[in-house]
Symmetry: C2
Subunit: 290 residues, 2 copies
């Protein structure tokens, strides 16, 4: 296990804060310095012992850091990269936790200059609906997947450090191409989020919305749980990955046309085959995921 | 609270068995007789004290019953109604637990003959993915909604008895027109089930299905939980309510086109408004439902 002497977390919310706590619990980090826009959240992170000190976008904070995690919304990524690029030490490894990777890689190529070879794009597939330092906990990444999307020129040592850090958090680390990552996540995460938001929107805009909601039950609640996610964050993810997401939405439209035709011609056999196949595939997935 | 001297449950599974257990726990029923096709399930129901005796489609079972609950799959409803119609006593009230109501009402009009005025169509909006007598428990209907869809000629006494029985189970009872019931359930239950099955099917049929599933996480799991539901049961529900379901699927297609257009033109403001509105509507619903 690689030990990180000094870790800087930019954005000490659920994602960044949990990374710091998990590394501390594993004994894999020395000192953690937090940087954030919200003074209150940073003070809270300090009180909760998530960070050992509050830092800033300056050389004192960044020049001697072994690792910097950028755990800010995608919309702030450019400004953060631009701010840190001239301040990083010659050894400082940088990683991020953004939900989309092609856009982050493009930003890094433009903004990180000499530090680009020590940048390891990453995406921990974990989270809750909560946010802020108060929501952070050491176990967030345990048995979760983290995807790293290293570039051709990424230094092997930088990749190894980031991989080892996430493994210390209890995560299972995979590597994908940035484009491949975005396509996979569009299919199994971004599409379902959009579908859930759209269903709630449809019910809410109905003439008899109040009546409809009054008869919604547990199935509706679980199906739409992800429509409780953060609107700005999901706006950014959808925009950043809109090309892959549009492909998935189109495929889903074709899929629904198939179902509509089965229904229209009263084809119970085809409906049952589809439902039964889907249930089986889901059960196998849940079993494999254990 | 009306006390039911003798209750006959046709189909002693999760729904029928839980009704019997709840009434027993409330002290609202005397004797419970179970009727079913599967000898093993009926014996299990007896061992579990869900029923006091096993009956059959004969006068000894049905002629002196105060209430008969038909808790069989919609596909068996016609045969069951036809079998019991000549056996029912002059006072026996009949109700059902089917997930769709227009089709059940149409069957009842054809099959129940003189007992039609004592038939109270019903739908308890409750359930789990489990089935059979083993899955039954007294608390299934506590704080859940039950919809009754009485007909013009339904005897007030019959309606009052069924209403009181469900209230004894802890449920909140509403009345709707059969058609209205089917439209409401198409929007908040049948549509989400079809959407969840379709998403799992889409992922399972992808060229890289194995990879996609391997990166699916908690959001996907909750969104698709209802795709773990019973395929034959949902085939029957979809077919029975296909008119209303097709209307909802068409509306959903229009909704998705709206979202696609927002994405295609990169309209972050519109996306955020939709996501934010949906989240707010869902939060209000959850708050009201408590």
């Amino acid at each position: 296990m690689a030990r990180i002497g000094k870790l800087v977390v930019v954005g000490v919310g659920l994602i960044g804060g949990s990374f710091a706590l998990a590394l501390k619990e594993a004994g894999a980090v020395g000192r953690v310095v937090g940087v954030g826009r919200g003074g209150r959240n940073i003070r809270r992170a300090f009180d909760l012992k998530i960070i050992d000190a509050a830092g800033a976008f300056d050389r004192a904070t960044l020049a001697d850091a072994d690792l910097a995690l950028l755990a800010v919304p995608v919309g702030q990524m450019r400004a953060v990269m631009r701010a840190i690029a001239p301040l990083l030490g010659a050894r400082t490894v940088v990683t991020d936790a953004g939900s989309t990777k092609e856009d982050v890689v493009a930003l890094a190529r433009r903004e990180l200059k000499g530090a680009l070879s020590r940048f390891v794009p990453g995406h921990p597939i974990a989270g809750t609906e909560k946010s802020g330092a108060d929501a952070a906990f050491a176990g967030l990444y345990r048995r979760r997947r983290v995807v790293l999307t290293p570039l051709k020129g990424t230094e092997p040592g930088a990749l190894a450090l980031v991989r080892s850090a996430w493994q210390s958090c209890g995560a299972s680390v995979s590597e994908l191409q940035p484009k491949e990552h975005d396509q996979v996540l569009a299919a199994v995460s971004h599409l379902p989020h959009v579908l859930a938001y759209a269903l709630v929107d449809q019910v809410a805009r109905a003439r008899n919305a109040k009546q409809l909601f009054s008869f919604a039950a547990g199935g509706f609640r679980d199906f739409t749980r992800i429509a409780g996610s953060h609107p700005e964050m999901w706006r950014d993810i959808c925009l950043a990955n809109r090309k892959a997401l549009l492909v998935e939405l189109k495929r889903y439209g074709v899929e629904l046309e198939r179902v509509k035709k089965m229904l229209a011609r009263g084809d119970g056999k085809a409906l049952e085959a589809l439902f039964s196949g889907a249930r089986g595939a889901r059960e196998r997935w849940l079993k494999d995921a254990q």
